[in-house]
Symmetry: C2
């Protein structure tokens, strides 16, 4: 494979000049053109190891996730790749799924081999030691949907989303609105805290409504769990509406309602959060989070920090988009309205 010396020879310049021309540093237009032509002719591609060793930059960024086999993280990754690949960056995946040793491996070794220029971490909850390890890298970190000390953060306002969703139901005339959402364990794994629960609660209270004990039903963030919770809830003291902490939970609720012979939205309104791929199919009203957009934003912010290492960490909160579909209506089956 051709190396930089071959290019230099063919272009009739020094290797230093080739390096500069290829990296967009000072070089006369004429020289640059010669170098580019020579590089193209030889099919020259820079060696990332040599370049990285000499410069300290690797053009690799890390993406750390609790697990990759959940649509949210896969979508975020798609967004990240779409901006990073086009800028000539590769992304290395650090998947914390699996046993503890996989996690230790990542923090103890992979991250420290100086093979990345920066890191994007999604929904990661770090131990104190891990935070130290991350800071010791001295590399920019951007966090998606979770707070990491000193890192730029991209997130959505979970409490606000929950409030909006609840207010949508309230404005339709519902007063008996159940919340089906994450138990403590799951919520913390996703770093949602109890924000969505809190948002629901405060909207209900602001409307002067009692939130009976029966209002909260625990479910993991998936369809089966939403289904089970709704089955239990609907057999109980039936509400006229459900606010589901995620679309998958909401879809589970819709399926449960259907199996119980209830019509959505006539007998039961349901609103979720996410805008999952299946939500349009099921007609689920929801607040869209746009994970790919979060990934793109995170990638841009990271790139900006790479260009400008001195900059202070930012915190960007994204505005969710309300998507009203056919799962919500006035209680009792009145015509569907867009709140």
């Amino acid at each position: 494979m051709a190396d930089i010396a071959d290019v230099a020879r063919l272009a009739g310049v020094s290797t230093a000049t080739v390096s500069r021309a290829l990296n967009g540093k000072t070089a006369s237009p004429a020289t640059r053109a010669k170098v580019l032509a020579a590089a193209a002719e030889l099919g020259y591609v820079i060696s990332s190891n040599a370049s990285g060793l000499a410069s300290g930059r690797t053009r690799h960024i890390g993406f750390m996730v609790p697990f990759i086999d959940r649509w949210f993280f896969a979508d975020v990754l798609t967004g990240i790749e779409s901006v990073l690949l086009s800028q000539g960056y590769d992304v290395t995946l650090y998947d914390l799924q699996g046993n503890e040793s996989q996690r230790d491996q990542v923090f103890g070794s992979s991250l420290r081999r100086a093979s990345i220029d920066g890191l994007i971490a999604a929904s990661i909850e770090l131990t104190p030691d891990e935070i130290l390890a991350l800071r010791a890298l001295g590399k920019p970190v951007v966090s998606i949907g979770g707070y990491i000390e000193g890192a730029t953060a991209v997130d959505v306002d979970n409490a606000r989303m929950a409030t909006l969703a609840t207010e949508h139901l309230l404005s339709l005339g519902h007063t008996r609105i159940a919340y089906v959402g994450a138990g403590r364990t799951i919520a913390s794994a996703f770093q949602l805290g109890d924000a969505r629960y809190d948002g629901w609660l405060s909207a209900m209270r602001a409307a002067g409504l009692e939130v009976e004990e029966t209002g909260f039903w625990e479910a993991d963030f998936d369809i089966p769990s939403g289904y089970a919770a709704a089955k239990a809830l609907l057999a109980h003291d039936r509400p006229t509406a459900i606010f589901a902490a995620s679309d998958e939970i909401g879809i589970g609720c819709m399926l449960a309602a259907r199996d119980l012979g209830l019509r959505v939205p006539d007998d039961l309104s349901i609103v979720g959060i996410d805008d999952h791929k299946l939500s349009a199919f099921f007609g689920l009203t929801t607040l869209a989070q746009d994970p790919a957009g979060q990934g793109r934003l995170a990638a841009h912010l990271l790139l900006a920090q790479l260009d400008n290492p001195g900059a202070a960490p930012e915190h960007r909160t994204l505005t969710p988009r309300f998507v009203v579909r056919s799962s919500t209506a006035r209680p009792g089956g009145a015509v569907h309205e867009t709140a």
Copy 2:
């Protein structure tokens, strides 16, 4: 950050010895212990760039996918990570989703920066130029679910799976069995060819059954598409069973049947392929593909080739596992049996 010279000094040996001890080469136990202790004390971690530059190995492997936001690929990736991370390898993702330029970027540049030791490609259909580019790398490639000249391959026998699924229905007494599956475009994107179609067809023919024109219904590999196809199909000349080319299609069919007031399996049996995460919830009978297992196997095969560069490419075909659930029964609603 401590470098190899620091470790050498502390351990009282040369840098070469440190390198050997750390890489599992010849070194006396006593020396190795000293080196390891020194490295641990200093928190030393090898520089992948320096090591890669000197040795030509990077301990990075690439994973190339048509898109990552499909459960199959995410699951494969989980399997790959579980074996590679523990062996000290990082995986960098090449996502071909997005525009052409993203793809060109990957083949023209990312892959060639010598930043990976090997590549795993899942369901990738390559152009002749791309195959050339890949071969030019001179690095081991393992392909999952698709054939790449000269590469080790891991796959499942799609025709056989389709035959088994169809035979399951036949053995239950069904004779009118529709196929809902991929149209040409989708099938080729996943490199399934028409194998599943062929398997269904040959099983039907072997049973002496006519496959009317109405037997094949086109659908993409997702729930909405399966739903739409089933709606059309069931309004038509109703079969007693459906063989769905994927579980997502099958789930769509189940939902459509339910919406039409049909009971599954009493009025309609449905069998899919995959063992999707949701299939247990829906009670869908299926043939499990175990994508994570495919990923693990691919990773092991790649590692083996890295250790033994001379070895000839292998071809491993995995055996699917039959998972009988509640979506299949004798026609007419007899008791469910496990084929």
